[in-house]
């Protein structure tokens, strides 16, 4: 401990005896840093934005200034670790942090082109939940759903499969970002859907004679009384030459809604149309509309490149647990020539965010997948070029105040998904995104797991993991019926 204190003091000493850094030359090169935190917008409650010099530039200095606060850091193994207390002072809401990075060249520090970090007044939900998985093919081993406090670097498991015989777990989902109301699936051994609600854990057997499969992709109704699900006959294959590597597709799929209290599912003929495949449901924030993706039934896998999903909506009446009869199409794949997945409406009801890809339903494996947004006020599309990277940008969620989105992107190395965050202003304009900060800046380069299905939550999930494991192993579960 004494050693750590000493290091902290050394890190702060440069404030008193600042290394000499000349003003940057007019044609100074851009600072080569990882992650790229140049000219980004961040929430005031985000963890310190530690960063490092790119390879070959191991010695340098970073100067961070905001108002009267100035912090000078020397690099350690190329990295700049910003003390949390200093960061809190620097990251004042509605301000700008000026950053100058200087790199040792020929015995002296040479300043790179300065940049700014804009600190928004809009706070971000304090936690994000995600699954850490191998971005792989068929096998899995260590697998878990984790939560990360975005205000610091603390990551804790929500549930890991070492407690349940290393089975597969997926599709965690929360009611309006509440850590007290969530669900996820376990597959194979101990298989079932697990609902954590009002302090109790329910294990559900969700395959019914009238549904294609057990329940799959979920979305909670804002009331907490229902969860919309798709039911899917899913398969995958491996490309021989396509850089997308893997194709995950449905032979068929439908959408149903689960009644949490009565353990029943129901649907509409329009959500179980045998001539179409419906999937990826989500509710509107007021709970009166159900969004989903839909495409014509196709001969799979031969037709995998011809499948393009539209975004549709159908009225939903939570009082009577019934569906309307008119389907609206918000995104028409036949017109765009592209396909859409995972429609998600901002909590303020203004914008619909989705992933767009040339074909298919599993955008995470599609390098062309980008995020798009529809302004539900006037139906206009925003391309969001500012936030999409050269590789797959896919699964996304909104913060509670509708000002931040978080999503999984493969832009760093083309395979391992990492979490990026961007500010969305009231007109739907996105700021330059930033990589979720890590204490150790090499974390995202070294980790051989993908971040999967990021979902904001307002606090940590605190269910008893041993109780969950006990129920998984010993409880036969409640059979879900079709209403």
């Amino acid at each position: 401990m004494r050693k750590f204190k000493a290091l902290a003091i050394i890190a702060l000493i440069p404030v008193a005896c600042t290394p000499k850094v000349d003003d940057p030359a007019p044609d100074a090169a851009e600072a080569a840093i990882f992650p790229d935190y140049k000219e980004i917008t961040v929430p005031p409650n985000i963890a310190p934005l530690n960063f490092s010099l790119e390879e070959g530039e191991e010695k340098g200095v970073a100067i961070l200034e905001n108002g009267g606060k100035k912090l000078v850091l020397k690099s350690r193994k190329g990295g700049f670790n910003i003390p949390a207390d200093d960061w809190r002072e620097l990251a004042a809401p509605g301000s700008e942090i000026a950053v100058t990075v200087a790199v040792k060249e020929g015995g002296k520090l040479v300043a790179r082109k300065p940049f700014e970090i804009f600190v928004s007044e809009d706070r971000i939900d304090p936690y994000v939940a995600y699954r850490l998985i191998d971005p792989g093919y068929e096998a899995w081993n260590d697998l878990g759903i984790y939560q990360r406090c975005l205000e610091n670097f603390r990551e804790t498991p929500i549930f890991t499969n070492d407690k349940t015989d290393r089975n597969c777990m997926n599709c965690h989902s929360f009611k309006t970002r509440s850590p007290e109301t969530m669900m996820f699936h376990m597959r194979g051994k101990n298989g079932g859907t697990y609902v954590w609600n009002n302090g109790e854990i329910d294990k559900l057997n969700t395959k019914t004679p009238r549904t294609i499969s057990a329940l799959v992709y979920p979305y909670w109704h804002p009331s907490g009384k229902y969860i919309a699900f798709s039911v899917n006959d899913i398969a995958q294959f491996f490309h021989s030459t396509n850089p997308n590597r893997i194709e995950v597709y449905d032979y068929k799929s439908d959408v149903v809604v689960y009644d949490v209290d009565n353990h029943q599912v129901s649907s509409s003929p329009m959500l179980m149309d045998t001539t179409r495949m419906e999937t990826f449901p989500s509710f509107s924030p007021d709970g009166k509309a159900l969004y989903y993706c839909s495409t014509k039934q196709a001969d799979m896998p031969q037709a995998y490149k011809d499948v393009r999903y539209s975004i549709c909506s159908i009225p939903f009446d939570p009082e009577s647990f019934s569906f309307g009869e008119k389907v609206d199409t918000l995104y028409n794949a036949a017109k765009t020539g592209m396909g859409a997945t995972f429609p998600r409406v901002s909590p303020d009801g203004r914008f619909l965010l989705f992933s767009e890809t040339a074909y298919g339903c599993f955008a995470i494996w599609h390098k062309d997948s980008d995020l798009r947004i529809i302004d539900l006020q006037d139906g206009t599309f925003h391309t969001m070029d500012d936030i999409n990277g050269p590789d797959a940008d896919s699964y996304h969620s909104w913060s509670g105040n509708s000002r931040w989105i978080i999503w999984a992107s493969r832009r760093i190395d083309g395979l391992y998904s990492r979490l990026f965050i961007a500010h969305i202003d009231k007109d739907g304009k996105a700021s330059k995104p930033f990589l979720m900060p890590q204490k150790n800046t090499s974390h995202d380069k070294d980790l051989m797991k993908s971040y999967n299905v990021p979902e904001f939550i307002s606090g940590p999930v605190l269910f008893d993991k041993d109780e969950m494991a006990g129920i998984a192993k010993n409880d036969p579960g409640t059979d879900v019926t079709f209403k």
Partner: protein, 291 residues
């Protein structure tokens, strides 16, 4: 791991594997048999000498995937040897995932190779960086760094360049059509990579798929992929002549081989011992048919 140029740490030595292989007619160890067949392929002997050993169907070449790390490790080598980069990559990944150590240097090395072959340089770099953090593997990892973002270097490398040529010109869905169709696309992409056609013919013969074997000969015999028939292929061509009269002559089967075949048949008709033909395809198919 397969010896392919730079593997100073490789434990795969085909000559040793072949020399030390103990043939047991009563009980086949598929993992050992697969390694043997791979060693034969790597030394250009598979289609000539595979029946010198007791064979047991194509699982003796491509063992059944059972989600075990060791099987994944073997399969990545098998597919790499075939020139099937997509499945070599898949199996290296599967074996990595199933490794409780969470660090399998041999498989990370393979992932470096497959990603370099594909030109997926950012993730190849990631694997090089990770492998290089293990002191014992640093030199191996660094030996790959020169290939990053350098297609010319990859293509001129005897191993990586040959594998890159094996990538089919048009994408196909691996294994959905059957491994034989995948191999045909590899052969069409890189006809000079003779291991692929040796594997293809061997798989057909081990599974007694004579019609498909003939289709293979019809397409590839006399081309760069198969300028002349290997021993077992010639033996199979003799048998095809039972249905397709004189077929053996059209694919260049030596007269001596055909005479041996007629002698084999005569001994079979007269109930005489076939032991002198134990190392032929004819004996293998007779044994399979009698089981």
């Amino acid at each position: 791991m397969i010896a392919c140029g730079r593997e100073a740490t490789s434990s795969f030595d085909p000559e040793t594997i072949i020399a030390s292989y103990v043939d047991d007619e009563r009980q086949v160890d598929y993992l050992k048999l697969s390694r043997l067949n791979m060693a034969l392929a790597e030394t250009g002997q598979l289609a000539d000498k595979m029946f010198h050993y007791t064979q047991a169907g194509s699982y003796g070449i491509i063992v059944k995937w059972n989600l075990a790390k060791e099987v994944g490790e073997l399969l990545t080598d098998t597919y790499w040897s075939m020139g099937h980069i997509a499945l070599a990559q898949r199996m290296a990944f599967e074996a990595t995932v199933m490794d409780d150590r969470e660090f399998n240097p041999e498989m990370i090395k393979r992932l470096i190779e497959t990603n370099l072959v594909y030109g997926a340089y950012p993730v190849a770099k990631k694997y090089i960086d990770i492998l290089g953090k293990a002191r014992a593997w640093r030199r191996v990892a660094e030996s790959y760094r020169k290939f990053l973002y350098n297609d010319a270097a990859v293509e001129s490398d005897p191993v990586l360049g040959a594998k890159r040529k094996c990538i089919p010109k048009t994408d196909f869905i691996s294994m959905v059509r059957g491994i034989d169709e995948d191999l045909k696309d590899i052969i069409r992409a890189n006809p000079g990579y003779h291991k692929a056609i040796e594997y293809l013919g061997a798989i057909y013969l081990l599974d007694c798929e004579m019609d498909k074997f003939k289709e293979m000969l019809d397409e590839f015999y006399g081309t760069e992929a198969l300028p002349e028939l290997h021993t077992s292929f010639a033996e199979a061509a003799c048998m095809l002549s039972e249905i397709h009269r004189g077929y053996w002559k059209t694919v260049g089967v030596p007269v001596d081989t055909y005479k041996k075949y007629t002698d084999f048949k005569a001994r079979l008709d007269n109930g005489l011992s076939q032991d002198k033909y134990k190392d032929t395809f004819w004996y293998y198919i007779m044994r399979v048919n009698s089981q």
